[in-house]
Symmetry: C2
Subunit: 339 residues, 2 copies
DNA sequence: GTTACGCATGGCATCGATAACATAGGCTCC
DNA sequence: GGAGCCTATGTTATCGATGCCATGCGTAAC
């Protein structure tokens, strides 16, 4: 209420210091929780902060300390919006709790040049760490240079210089999904994979192949989608024309939506005629018709865990279950119709 | 290939200046595209930048210029992941193009305190502008203080000091959806609204009420969900028990998924028994069973347009169509079964 | 009764880019 | 031919917090 002084400039630490009757240095220490500050002094400083309406200037801090307290998050525009959204939320929650900001960069397509540019952009912003939620197809020299200097966690099974990797074993996911169908009595399992540039896609496909091989079944040719429901629908139309197909493993929930749509349009019932398993367990998976049986991935936790790894280093206690592929069994799978 | 000098520190403008044989100031001018730089000098500077591997330090720039070239994006964790994801992508694309970074803050729930804290956090980071994709229920003094100093665009129909507002007319959306059902011959339209704290939810409900009133129909009591598919399912179970319901307007696609699931489980067919319209047109809407008729919102464009407004001010040419409610007619609506 | 050490605090240089101001040369115009 | 101006460039101070070192004081140790 004692307003009236025209304030041309945000108050700085010097202003706080003056008001509290200490030096700016002490203000800095008090605010950062240095142990060597008299409790009484700290109290005075905090009061002064309140009084002058001080807000700290992160640019100045970043410049003088060399650390920006910012984490850079790299996302792919085309990679399934649920996972993007959930990873982002997880990263932001964990980062925010630790006093870190999150700066994002979205790349429009899986392209090395775009990737390099995004990393550079974030590096220029001075981020203290990277969370890369994009498959690194080919790691270029430039990308290595950047990620060598800045701690990096990748969420997609690919590795680069010094980067830690997080996420479920995608090959295991492929096995679990396929085995579930075999256990139900299906004699053959078709696969609609993600784009081959994606490491996850390749790994899931491998898991599927291995699982079939272990059962002595020759794998049918895989169909390739691009993660979009539309691509799932297109491949689903092909599936629908092959009467002998009774079980399909789709590499993502969103593609599974498309597959189911195509099958319905062709008059084939899920799961009576064809069973479908996929991967992700997005929020809408349980509300598909029929509800999807799917291998769960907890993207929010991925995001949280990635930040924990970045900030706490290797000794971060990342919950084991983050890396465990578990199946959410719902109604899109059933034993094959006996004939 | 001429490596060998141990580099302890990132090269700075001074290093570039030395290499190019000019002053640091000239380097700064050359890099920022100031008109008063000799083309030949600029060339030399750029060559030197390349040679020493210079990357500019945004903290220093932010400190000395007072502008961070960062836009703060405020999201709500619980508000539908598709819209969040798409808005984020749009904001980031437009910001990136203009050389701006995007820093995000997610609030866990619609709470004034959380909102204040998020805004403060971003303000402390020194963002040059806000894009707020969260309804501002009650605008507190503190929030006003912040948004008075920093340009703000809101994407939810609420207004605060000096903020510009962007988005389709939600009331119109409610009218369009309802009218579509009436036009098909339905005599009554039920509504599953979003949470009452959301301005969009209130506006859509009003549109629905008005439309019914204009047709001389007394509106049934609205059912309230929380945007989640699960809440849609719960309300759908109620709907399913009321035989006379033939048409439902759900306030979001995700709730519509839940409603449809509930109806299917009770053996009621969509659209034969019950027609459903919703709002958003998320990527999966066309892959619902049946495909959803829904009022389209282009969240990506919202994001882009918001940034354009921030950076270019009022004279930004924001495409009119951003604000037009258009209906994507698919298969979840049909004339009522004649009886 | 020194020595030594820990604690609380202050002084000063520093981070890297930019704003504001200064300067030098070349050109136009009366 | 000098006043005035525009262009290209350099000099210096500055932004605000922090790192490093110095200082003074109290207390435990020898």
């Amino acid at each position: 209420m004692t307003e009236g002084t025209a304030r041309l400039r945000q108050p700085s630490m010097a202003d706080v210091a003056r008001t509290a009757g200490v030096s700016a240095q002490t203000v800095s220490r008090a605010l950062r929780g240095s142990p060597n500050v008299n409790p009484e002094t700290r109290r005075r400083v905090l009061a002064a902060v309140e009084q002058v309406g001080y807000r700290f200037n992160s640019a100045a801090r970043a410049l003088s300390s060399g650390r920006s307290h910012t984490i850079g998050l790299v996302l792919l525009a085309s990679g399934g919006y649920y996972s993007r959204s959930a990873v982002t939320a997880g990263v932001e929650a964990a980062a925010g709790e630790a006093g870190y900001a999150v700066s994002i960069a979205t790349i429009a397509a899986l392209d090395t040049g775009l990737m390099e540019r995004s990393l550079s952009k974030l590096a220029d912003q001075g981020v203290d760490g990277f969370v890369i939620a994009v498959p690194l197809i080919s790691v270029t020299r430039k990308m290595e240079d950047i990620t060598r200097d800045i701690p990096t966690v990748t969420l997609d099974g690919s590795r680069t210089a010094g980067a830690r990797v997080l996420g479920i074993d995608q090959q295991e996911a492929g096995r679990v999904a396929t085995q579930h169908l075999l256990d139900l009595g299906h004699r053959q399992v078709w696969h609609i994979s993600g784009p081959d540039e994606w490491i996850e896609a390749r790994q899931r496909r491998q898991g599927w192949q291995e699982c079939l091989a272990a059962a002595g079944i020759e794998a049918p040719p895989p169909l390739e989608g691009d993660w979009s429901p539309d691509s799932g629908k297109r491949q689903g139309q092909i599936i629908a024309m092959i009467p002998e197909v009774t079980a399909v493993f789709a590499a993502s929930d969103e593609m599974a939506f498309g597959v189911i749509r195509a099958l319905h349009e062709r008059g084939r019932s899920v799961p009576d005629d064809v069973s479908i398993v996929s991967v992700d367990d997005i929020a809408l998976a349980a509300y598909c018709s029929p509800p999807l049986t799917t291998v769960r991935q907890d993207f929010y936790r991925y995001g949280q865990a990635a930040v924990a790894l970045l900030l706490q280093g290797d000794e971060a206690d990342v919950d084991e279950s983050v890396a465990t592929a578990s199946l959410s069994v719902r109604a899109s799978t059933a034993p094959p119709r006996s004939r």
